[in-house]
């Protein structure tokens, strides 16, 4: 009998009695080997097929970089998309880009997580059911034809469109209808600036602000470093004059008037608290003073008393006058009259043509609120035949949602192009999901004359379709987005350039990501019309509370609310994650008896707009101002209820049915043809309930609480600051006097880094706290999201964090931001205490963490004076295979129970070394960039080799502003900081002494 047939017979029952030794061994051997074989089968067999033909340039494991344009907002920053094995993984700023200059904000950095979101719509929807494109196209085409024939109104709503191709497509699409209009609706609109220019310059345009040309910046509420219009570009321009050196001890001066404490106000040299309904009056005073200064004797209007002390305004007017042509006044008001005053000021100072460019205006905000209000009226009146909404959630971002929803329900045709089932999409008859911007061709012209391209970096993950293609198809064409963009460039962009041959022009544009066109059609701008200026003479009579609706840094509007990285990114000022809240000043909180986390009802007179939100006491806020962030309460964010680890005492991030934060758009006032984010007559009522906020920082001051502060050590000088005047006298001003310590080592140097000695310097004077570095690091280093409950338990995982301190204890506070990451100490306290040598010093001066070796005693974290080590309390990895595509394969995903921390992007250092070795050259200074440094819009971070005396990091280390945190302990960190220098006369309180930081009666 052959063995084969034997195997098919049923085995005879094994009898133990008669078993010979040989038989026993056979049986035992068989059992053992079968056990071993079955034990080995851990993973199913997956066949990996190599490319039959290797595409040129594609090397497995090597990152390919594609130039593109950041689609996060209309600012249009230059983007480099790192693509690895067909997956876009890391977004980086494009250093050559003339606007963003290499910076990229948190929203841009967080794009990959949005791309790999498993809840993006994968196919079109009809009536809430999944459909296919053929059906949807057939129905929509038919209905559009009916509408075209019957002459019903067609409205297409988008946010600001900077894309020439999309604009052309929209124009072509709407051309077939008799009553068609393209409504530009920006959820956070700057419409009043454009309207003001329509009044004063007869052109509805947004000037291109040139912060790099301004020596004196006066901002009325405009958070230009945080969220206003184009923050990365403005930060990059602003920082060019913010680093005084010994050779050139000068810097620009930045004065901020604002009601809430914004990121920009926090960086200002001088900050005055001013309620937003009084901007007009203060601007009028300034205008009047400048008129006097200019020697004009025209009759002065009778102005009410200024809420800002007259001496302050006199001095400011003098400074502005002296900085004629090199000053810049900006304002975020949505009151056209106020913006007209701003224009008048800038005109009076001769800033047009210098710091405000009208010849090449910005196109980054084109929202036309009057059209939006008209659309709302039309919707209510039932006059619309077809409503198409792309790129913005119409109903989420407008007040009166219920009435709008009813009107939309009665529309003959409503189409959404949303990526996800957002609020409008849930009401629309058809959802025709657009590609993620990283999946499709597009272009942008953020500033006239600068046209950039977006190119797809992977095959679309779902059956989505580009908006360009959808519109083209319904216009009767069948074009591909690529052809549409190419056609636009051939017809509209090429003629504006000096090239004539399209092919090389296009190839170069795809390679570079953008083209700068010398000639562009300059808008027709009239001479300044002084008659449009009408001074604001009165003060608001009723001194009741004023509401400011603002957008949070790193989340902006509701579009990015589905991104857990951005939801867990602490607000740079409040440090709160996963929520929006009502900011009130300490004095107002005291009057109303409120503390952090008290749930209050915010009423504006209209009972439908009432909102219950937790309170956050915000120092530095005007006493009459209540501030709430927009962009929260987004449909579908209840998906994050259980994003954190689940265990016995875990509390869900959200209560059942709750969304992340509350939508405050109901409080937007629609009046005077505009969307107003400021409204008066606000009532706060305590509900008695509480809502615990998740803040990453519990103590907010460099001051030690008075009851436990030792005499003479009431303040911790971990962030050092001085004034420009003091700096000019002594470049080392601001250094604490007490630290006379010897740099002598107890032990002889036994491991001096002889090759490279890496170091990092952060200029705190440039750092704005925008938190782009936090998300850049999260994306680069696979830092997990832990959820609100874990943040509340003080277990967030960020490797780099922004420490925010208030100094000064009056109503006016100085805000100090300090990026804190592993300091890579040469005398590292963490290294000596690890029992298993899981954290060791590299020969190049890096403090390295060997995850595999770590047993998790946490002694290193306890002994870290900077508290930068992060422990994996739980298994944070998720089983979402789609989302896990965003993980960087160069960086280990850490398991539960091990310690982790900043590695100074050791994978990037190694990649840089390998590349240099392959070229046979030494590593060029600046060839290796850490992720945080790469993204920093303010270029505040410098990384390099300290052993190279000519490197930028060595030069930065030689700067007299340079200091190290806790230097007196001789940990010898590889990370150093440059002191904050504020351009003002009055010395800042010594790292936060007692006196209020700004001049006397600075608030009303």
């Amino acid at each position: 009998m052959s063995p084969r047939t034997q195997a098919h017979q049923s085995p005879a029952p094994l009898r133990l009695e008669g078993l010979s030794r040989r038989e026993f061994l056979e049986a035992a051997g068989f059992t053992l080997s079968i056990a071993a074989i079955t034990g080995c089968g851990r993973a199913p067999v997956v066949t990996a097929l190599p490319f039959a033909e290797q595409p040129e340039g594609v090397v497995p494991g090597r990152t390919l970089t594609y130039a593109s344009t950041c689609p996060g907002c209309a600012a249009g920053c230059g983007l480099l998309v790192g693509v690895r094995d067909g997956r876009p993984l890391k977004m980086e700023g494009m250093p050559e880009h003339p606007l963003s200059r290499g910076g990229l904000c948190a929203v841009g950095q967080a794009l990959p997580l949005g791309l790999y979101d498993s809840q993006r719509l994968a196919e079109p929807q009809q009536g809430g059911q999944a459909a296919n494109w053929r059906q949807v196209d057939a129905q929509i085409t038919k209905r559009l034809a009916d509408i075209a024939n019957s002459g019903q109104a067609v409205r297409l709503v988008t946010p600001t469109v900077t894309s020439p191709s999309l604009q052309a497509a929209i124009d072509r699409f709407l051309a077939r209808f008799k009553d068609a209009r393209h409504v530009l609706f920006d959820p956070v609109s700057s419409s009043a600036i454009l309207d003001a220019h329509a009044k004063t310059h007869a052109a509805r345009i947004l000037p291109h602000y040139r912060f790099d040309a301004a020596r004196l910046i006066v901002s009325f509420g405009a958070d230009f470093l945080g969220t206003w219009i184009s923050p990365v570009e403005f930060t990059a321009a602003w920082q060019t004059h913010r680093a005084p050196t010994e050779a050139q001890p000068t810097m620009s001066r930045h004065v901020q008037f604002e009601g809430r404490l914004s990121l920009t106000g926090a960086k200002a040299d001088q900050r005055y608290r001013l309620a937003p309904d009084e901007y007009g009056l203060v601007l009028s005073h300034l205008l009047a003073k400048l008129a006097t200064r200019a020697g004009e004797s025209e009759p002065q209007a009778d102005l009410a008393e200024s809420p800002i002390a007259a001496a302050v305004l006199d001095q400011l007017a003098e400074e502005l006058w002296n900085a004629r042509g090199a000053s810049l006044v900006v304002c975020d008001s949505q009151e056209v009259a106020t913006q007209v005053l701003v224009n008048a000021l800038n005109h009076r100072l001769g800033n047009y043509g210098q710091t405000l460019d009208l010849a090449r205006p910005s196109r980054q905000r084109q929202g036309d609120d009057a059209n939006v209000l008209a659309l709302v009226e039309e919707l209510r009146g039932g006059k619309i035949g077809a409503l198409l909404v792309a790129g913005v959630d119409l109903t989420h971002n407008l007040p009166g949602r219920e009435a709008l929803a009813r009107a939309i329900g009665n529309l003959p045709l409503s189409i959404s192009f949303a990526e996800r089932l957002d609020d409008f999409a849930s009401l629309a008859q058809f959802v025709c999901p657009d590609h993620h911007p990283l999946e499709s061709w597009s272009d942008a012209e953020p500033v006239q004359g600068l046209v950039s391209l977006s190119q797809p970096t992977l095959q679309p993950l779902g059956h989505t379709r580009s908006l360009l293609e959808s519109l083209s198809r319904w216009s009767g064409r069948q074009e591909h987005a690529y052809d549409i963009v190419r056609a636009t460039w051939r017809e509209r962009v090429l003629p504006r350039s000096e090239s004539t041959d399209f092919r090389p022009f296009w190839d170069q544009a795809v390679h570079d990501g953008f083209v700068q066109l010398d000639a562009g059609p300059a808008p027709t701008v009239s001479e300044f019309r002084g008659d449009a200026v009408e001074l604001t003479t009165g003060r608001p009579v009723d001194q009741d509370l004023v509401l400011i609706l603002y957008s949070k840094v790193g989340l902006t509007d509701s579009r990015h609310a589905h991104n857990p990285w951005l939801q867990e990114l602490p607000d740079p000022i409040t440090k709160v994650t996963w929520d929006n809240y009502v900011c009130v000043s300490p004095r107002l909180a005291g009057e109303l008896g409120l503390t952090d986390g008290d749930l209050v009802r915010v009423d504006s007179g209209d009972p439908a707009t009432g909102l219950e939100l937790p309170v956050l006491v915000q120092p530095g806020q005007h006493d009459r101002v209540v501030a709430i962030a927009l962009g929260y309460g987004v449909r579908g964010t209840d998906r994050f209820a259980n994003i954190g680890p689940s265990w016995l005492e875990a509390r869900p991030t959200l209560a059942p049915g709750e969304l992340v934060g509350k939508n405050a758009a109901g409080l937007i006032a629609l009046r005077d043809g505009g969307l107003h984010y400021v409204r008066g007559a606000i009532q706060l009522t305590e509900t008695g309930a509480r809502h615990e906020l998740a803040s990453t920082q519990l103590h907010h001051s460099l001051h030690i609480p008075a009851n436990v502060a030792p005499h003479g050590a009431e303040v911790r000088d971990v962030v050092q600051q001085t004034t420009l005047a003091a700096y000019v006298r002594n470049p080392q001003a601001g250094a604490p006097e007490s630290h006379h310590f010897s740099a002598t080592q107890l032990w002889p140097e036994d491991h001096t880094p002889s090759g490279h000695h890496w170091g990092l310097v952060i200029d705190l004077n440039k750092c704005t706290g925008c938190s782009a570095c936090v998300i850049a690091c999260q994306s680069e280093n696979n830092v997990p999201v832990v959820g609100k409950d874990e943040v509340r338990r003080q277990r967030e995982m960020h490797w780099i964090r922004l420490d925010r301190y208030y100094s000064g204890d009056g109503d006016d506070v100085d805000v100090l931001q300090q990026p804190m990451l592993c300091q890579h100490c040469d005398n590292a306290p963490c290294e000596t205490v690890c029992p298993v040598l899981a954290t060791v010093h590299s020969p190049e001066g890096l403090n390295e963490q060997a995850y595999n070796r770590c047993v998790g005693t946490r002694y290193c974290a306890n002994n870290c004076p900077y508290k930068v080590r992060r422990f994996n309390w739980f298994k944070y990895q998720r089983d979402d295979a789609r989302q896990n595509l965003a993980l960087n394969p160069d960086v280990t995903v850490r398991t539960r129970g091990v310690m982790e921390k900043c590695s100074l992007c050791v994978q990037r250092i190694e990649a840089g070394k390998i590349a240099a070795r392959q070229r046979g050259e030494p590593i060029a200074d600046g060839a290796i960039l850490t992720a945080c440094q790469q993204s920093c819009p303010a270029q505040a971070i410098v990384f390099g080799d300290r052993n190279d005396p000519d490197s930028r990091v060595s030069q930065a280390l030689a700067d007299p502003r340079r200091y190290r945190v806790l230097e007196e302990f001789n940990f010898r960190p590889a990370v150093a900081y440059s002191r904050v220098v504020r351009n003002r006369d009055k010395a800042p309180p010594p790292a936060g002494g007692g006196a209020p930081s700004t001049g006397g009666a600075a608030h009303g």
Binding site: P645, L648, H699, N707, D803, P835, V855, R858, F871, W873
Partner: protein
């Protein structure tokens, strides 16, 4: 050495015992069937142990995140419990080894149970460094065993590694010392038992003890040597445990006073635990004649002196901080006394310094309920001492941005209860299966059958009458 008969000291054993009485009394709890009280106590402690096992199992399965720790406070209940139990474990060796070398004969009444307590306390302590790890299944990496990883070995600079050596050495020596002391008594039990499992087990464990002069000689020599070996451990173990903190850079930890401070504290807490157990055991096991009031009195005095040393250490810490001129150091101590965890600090001071001052009064020392309550108070205070050192130093360290709070979770509390469950379960089982008093030693030390001088007179008078 003074003749015990002429000593003014009270007799070590009261009640006119003969040697046979001693054997009978001490073996009685073993030979009696377990009482309902014992079963009840065992049920309670085993329930606590089970709760602890469930909590630890859950924690190992899910993660250290089930404890209330955070980015700033990386140790809290875990290491507090560890140091607490190591401290408890100190009195055993002190009593058995140090007092043996100093020929303090009163120790014989308590040394056996104190040693057993040491052993169980060290077992409890040893659990915490294991389970506090993020990946406890890799705990063996802390041992310097030959491996295939080339130069990667343990870090001899790390105090945690010293801990591994110190605790394992201590456990080993304590166990051997305890066992060697048990050998003659095991032989006694063997000889008293009828045929059965008890006789068989004791025959093996007593290593063929035959009571010959030669056996006794060997035994005494070994015991003396082990006492000599164990004595340095009394000081080294807690010194090394204190270095977990002293060698760090964290203000409130980084202080040179810690080694003596910790040793004194350890002995303090150990004595308190011995008293707690002894006062119950002598009552329940009817050993009042062996563990007498004078024993309790001696222990109280020792505890009082240790309490004063601990109090002095608390004061010295504050003085050092004040005198250092170091703002970080000064802050930590002000924050301990007045900060968010001031309740823990003042609990500690009250329990460890203020209340033990009552022991100056003879009436307090003579009242067993008072002493028992005091011992419990000291145990609580010493637990809080470790909690204060660990948590208050960590939760407010250098950078104010990272200041955090701490609150234990139910898992941590269950784990603490579980460690008590383990300790008492072990102790209860020990009481049933081994003589709680070293019979052989007490027979040698107490001069039984030779009434003391004063009492001999009384005896004579009694006879005359």
């Amino acid at each position: 050495m003074a003749d015990p008969n002429s000593s003014p000291r009270p007799p070590l054993v009261t009640g006119d015992k003969t040697i046979a009485d001693v054997t009978r009394d001490i073996c009685a709890p073993l030979e009696r069937g377990p009482t309902g009280l014992w079963w009840g106590a065992l049920a309670v402690s085993c329930s606590a142990l089970l709760l602890g096992v469930v909590a630890v199992g859950y924690q190992i399965a899910v993660g250290v995140g089930t404890w209330g720790l955070n980015k700033t406070v990386g140790w809290a209940f875990d290491i507090t419990n560890f140091v607490f139990w190591v401290g408890i474990g100190h009195a055993g060796t002190l009593i058995s080894a140090v007092l043996f070398l100093f020929r303090q004969k009163w120790r014989t009444a308590v040394n056996r149970s104190a040693e057993a307590m040491t052993l169980f306390a060290v077992v409890c302590a040893g659990i915490f460094p294991l389970i506090h790890m993020g990946r406890p299944w890799l705990a063996f990496w802390t041992l310097p065993y030959p491996n295939t990883r080339g130069s990667l070995w343990v870090n001899f600079k790390s105090p945690l590694l010293w801990d591994v050596f110190a605790i394992s050495t201590y456990l080993l020596i304590s166990a051997v010392f305890w066992y060697v002391g048990l050998i003659p008594d095991l032989a006694t039990i063997r000889d008293r038992s009828g045929p059965g499992w008890r006789r068989r087990i004791c025959s093996v464990l007593s290593l063929g003890w035959n009571g010959s002069a030669r056996t006794w000689h060997r035994y005494e020599t070994v015991y003396m040597l082990l006492a000599g070996l164990a004595t340095p451990l009394v000081f080294s173990v807690h010194t090394i445990v204190s270095m977990d903190f002293a060698t760090s850079v964290i203000p409130g930890w980084h202080t040179t006073i810690f080694p003596p401070y910790f040793v004194a504290g350890a002995i303090f807490s150990g004595l308190a635990m011995v008293l707690t157990l002894m006062i119950v055991a002598r009552k329940v096991m009817r050993l009042e004649d062996y563990i007498t009031h004078s024993h309790v009195d001696q222990m109280c005095k020792l505890m009082l002196s240790m309490g004063c040393i601990v109090g002095l250490a608390y004061g010295t810490e504050f003085f050092t901080a004040f005198y250092s001129g170091n703002g970080y150091e000064q802050f930590v101590f002000k924050n301990r006394a007045l900060g968010p965890f001031c309740w823990a600090y003042w609990t500690m001071v009250t329990c460890n310094v203020v209340i033990p001052q009552l022991l100056w009064f003879r009436s307090v020392r003579a009242s067993l309920p008072c002493v028992f309550a005091l011992a419990i108070v000291v145990n609580i205070g010493m637990w809080f001492e470790r909690f204060v050192i660990i948590v208050t130093s960590l939760h407010r360290d250098f950078l104010p941005s990272s200041w955090a709070d701490y609150a234990p979770t139910s898992i941590e509390i269950a784990t603490l209860l579980g460690s008590f469950g383990l300790f008492f379960s072990c102790f209860l089982i020990f009481c049933r299966f081994a003589p709680v008093i070293a019979m052989a030693e007490i027979k040698g030390a107490a001069h039984l059958g030779k009434p003391a001088a004063g009492r001999r007179e009384a005896h004579r008078q009694e006879h005359a009458a």
